[in-house]
Amino acid sequence: MLTVPVMEPLVENQAAVGDPWVTIVWNDPVNLMTYVSYVFRSYFGFPEPVAESLMLQVHKEGRAVVATGHREAMEIHVQAMHTFGLWATLQRSGQ
């Protein structure tokens, strides 16, 4: 069976970010797995295996980090996730 490696989430200007923040997507019982995967592919542009892997992480572990970078960028991603109906939050990375 082919094992798909969990790939890095979207990193924005990591080298320049002194105080990195992350966007976390949380599991909920309403959102369809197909829909979550679709949002990850179409909004973040993740390739299909990456989107699937992150979606499964949300589903099984309850949450997944989908992006990291400046606070302002994370706020934009969180708002986008909320537009799609996914629950996402931002926090300092390493919290």
């Binding site: 019982p29 829909y35 592919r41 537009t83």
Partner: protein
């Protein structure tokens, strides 16, 4: 009668009876009403103080931006809530209109697909909140209880709501599956730039970009 979506030349289509279309359009409008309600304490804040919605269904559509940090959550809400509310209302209007404009076939053009899918998702979030679906177990229990004979014991209103939730869930799934098909096809095209895939045949069908100059009019 309600069919699942399939990919079509303009986007995504499904056949749906008039009754079902009207019921769904009304449901979409009800969710829009919730978001637009002037009674909502958090409604239309233009000042510095932006309060979270009191209705848990609306709160699910406009959730917190932080789980643990009240300051981050408040700042996020101040920056984004009205914009997000406006976007969601606009999306619901698009979905309602395309349901009402349809005759025997509902057409969602490709450019509207994400909008329609998002609006549908918001409808499901509101229904789920009203059905007290908070965990995976709640969702599984509802699904089980809607089957015979358990459904006989369910209060009529809850049963009706539950059935609508299941239908809308199935319907959204069919749309998303079709949307993923087109994502996959677009990706395949990128990998094989020399190949133009004809996904559906139309009378006097086009064979590719070189036919763009041909006009049917």
């Amino acid at each position: 009668m309600i069919e699942g979506f399939r990919v079509s030349p303009a986007g995504f289509t499904c056949r749906m009876g008039d009754n079902e279309r009207q019921v769904l359009a009304q449901l979409v409008d009800d969710v829009r009403d919730l978001l637009e309600s002037p009674d909502e304490p958090g409604a239309w804040n233009l000042g510095d103080e932006v309060h979270p919605p009191e209705d848990p269904a609306v709160a699910r559509l406009l959730p917190d931006g932080s789980r643990d940090d009240a300051e981050v959550a408040a700042e996020f809400r101040r920056l984004t809530q009205e914009d997000l509310r406006g976007t969601k209302i606009a999306n619901l209007v698009v979905l309602r209109d395309l349901l009402l404009q349809a005759t025997d076939e509902v057409l969602i053009v490709s450019a509207q697909a994400a909008t329609a899918a998002s609006a549908l998702n918001d409808v499901r979030l509101v229904l789920a909140e009203r059905l007290d679906i908070r965990t995976e177990e709640d969702a599984e229990n509802l699904h089980r209880d809607l089957r015979w004979p358990a459904r006989q014991r369910m209060p009529r209103e809850q049963r009706a709501l539950g059935e609508v939730y299941e239908i809308v869930t199935w319907w959204q799934e069919s749309l998303v599956v079709a949307m993923v098909e087109t994502l996959d096809a677009a990706f395949a095209d990128k990998c094989n730039p020399g190949v133009v895939e004809r996904r559906s045949s139309t009378p006097g069908g086009r064979t590719g970009a070189s036919d763009q100059a041909e006009s049917d009019s």
